[in-house]
Symmetry: C2
Subunit: 364 residues, 2 copies
């Protein structure tokens, strides 16, 4: 696969919600924008990391904000391109390619819209392999790419250009600007060379997500029947094991927008046995899945909620009381199992008094 | 008076707290920094607005944040100069002079430190004639000077460059950055030409504040004895009437940092008659003074609290239960009595269901 065309976008959006592990921002509006942009401007070339020149200038572009806001604050057609161009003007250099913060959710699509607008390629890969709530959790940051200069662009065309050494501090500044500017902004940040990208990216996730979306589309139907097709695509990939965690009804879900994040939890109850429940902790994404005191899956592994009858993945901000859902867990790419990565993405880094246990080491 | 020397700084700081009408940020630390800077680098030339060339490039520099933070977050010696230089680098033009956001509180001193560091003059005048809590309340904004490009500099040297059309939106962005960056930042904003400044500034306030500080120093003693010397300096000035409002003990004071501002109120009780009270509403500065339902002074006129025994002005964040104080009201410069100014500084623009009544029209 060497380009993304308008007819790929539905599968890409569908697959991206699966990998978003509850967060990432609803891709619905970005899906419409991406289809219209690619129809108008033609396909976008996608390049595997090794196809980039070492001295290429690669600029990640994406949205930052609380996912709930993605349901209401309408993005404009040209915001990703205008963000990229404003960034290029500030740094005085044209981008050779656009990269994705995260393949999960709407940020799988925003880079395509920016790249189509500018007529440049997008990297086939991303900085998370899923979605995470904070910038310092990106592979780019963990690999030592500087977060700034970073340019933020709001719905009204106001901009802010940040300069900060630490990605943790940068995350705090950009999150606060997002909250002040209506809850959702478009950002160009963590710009890097092709050589840096090759060390820092989760490769191949853009084409993988299109294929995953195709699997979900072709196997639309009861969640019990999708496990085998999911295993067939995930097990040979960088992700590995897929596991059924729970099936049941949403009996409680509560999130609040705190400090620019959606924070809260959801509880599911077994269809037949009200004593059996699964509790999901949320910070934009699902972080922990627990039955009673027992952790059955945790960040950085992926926790994915799908509709029980159709297997359509459901992002957290669309999860509602009474929905019948199935929850899967999926292993994470090896990158996130290194000590450097676990320092920022383990349950402990989210405030839980728990060490990370890889999915395949948890008794199922 | 055509320059500020190190030996003027104590009087300037003292006078600035009087004009700060409770807010403006405690000048204590900036006073020490200004004295050391002027001792090391020599006096700073001050220019009346009419002495500036029409095409001079004038850059206001000052602190933005909640005044309570000014008691704890230590400013560094070179932050004002580094802020100005980072701004100059971004806009590609050197400043010919520095101006002050507000003569009230610490922002009377920050421009001197920036100007001394760069070896350029400071405008004898300011953008408020007192202190107000928000950027759109500055004469510069009211006169149509664009707020951005604006460069914010935090205690760790992180920066953010804002671009926004409206000062109201800019205020929201810069306030949110201040809150994210520790509560207090240094900012260069509302840059303008000499011609614009001449239309937009409250003139002469820098030298006036030194003289006011001298009056307070030379008349240190009971507040009852300071009224005549205050009248002697204010009545022939752009301010006009000075009036004694109340003398009593602080029996209640409560402020919280809400959205980056100090917000709350204080209540004073007459020394002899507990039934007589004065209530002060606060948003960084004193906004309203009321005895029962009766408004006895309101923004944009100045409400000033001084120590009852020494007449030393007390800024709001230092006001404490049990303090014995006297409250004066002072008229505001004519600029703030225009309909354009009252749109942003009347009691109504702070959410009170009250029209502004000039001090001299209120029965004393």
């Amino acid at each position: 696969m060497n380009r993304i065309e308008a007819h790929h976008i539905d599968d890409l959006a569908l697959g991206s919600v699966f990998l978003a592990t509850g967060g990432g921002g609803d891709p619905h509006l970005n899906r419409i924008i991406a289809i219209e942009t690619l129809k108008a401007r033609g396909p976008v070339e996608i390049l595997l990391p090794e196809e980039l020149d070492d001295d290429a200038f690669v600029v990640p572009v994406g949205s930052v904000g609380a996912p709930t806001v993605s349901l209401e604050l309408l993005p404009s057609m040209d915001e990703p391109r205008r963000t990229l161009e404003a960034f290029e003007k500030q740094v005085g250099r044209r981008a050779d390619a656009v990269a994705s913060f995260e393949i999960g959710g709407g940020n799988s699509l925003v880079p395509l819209v920016a790249a189509a607008g500018r007529g440049i390629p997008v990297v086939n890969g991303d900085g998370m392999g899923r979605a995470y709530p904070e910038a310092q959790m990106m592979t780019y940051a963990i690999s030592g790419v500087r977060p700034t200069p970073a340019l933020a662009f709001d719905y009204a065309g106001n901009t802010a250009l940040f300069s900060t050494q630490s990605t943790e501090v940068y995350e705090y500044h950009i999150r606060s600007f997002a909250a002040a500017a209506g809850g959702m902004i478009t950002v160009a940040e963590h710009a890097m060379s092709g050589a840096q990208l090759k060390q820092a990216v989760i490769p191949g996730t853009l084409s993988f997500t299109v294929e995953l979306g195709q699997v979900l589309r072709e196997n639309r139907g009861p969640a019990a029947d999708i496990l085998d097709p999911l295993k067939a695509i995930f097990e040979p990939s960088i992700y590995g094991e897929v596991r059924h965690l729970f099936s049941g009804k949403v009996i409680d879900k509560s999130t609040r927008i705190i400090g620019g994040y959606d924070i809260g939890e959801a509880t599911l109850e077994d269809f037949d046995d009200p004593g059996q429940t699964l509790c999901l902790n949320i910070k934009n994404e699902y972080l922990l899945a627990r039955t009673g005191d027992r952790v059955v899956a945790s960040v950085p592994d992926l926790i994915v909620t799908v509709d029980h009858e159709t297997s359509t993945p459901i992002n957290c901000e669309r999860l509602r009381y009474g929905q019948r859902v199935t929850v899967f867990a999926v292993g994470c790419p090896d990158f996130y199992r290194s000590p450097e990565a676990l320092r920022v993405v383990s349950p402990r880094s989210f405030g839980f008094d728990l060490d990370y246990v890889p999915l395949e080491d948890i008794e199922s």
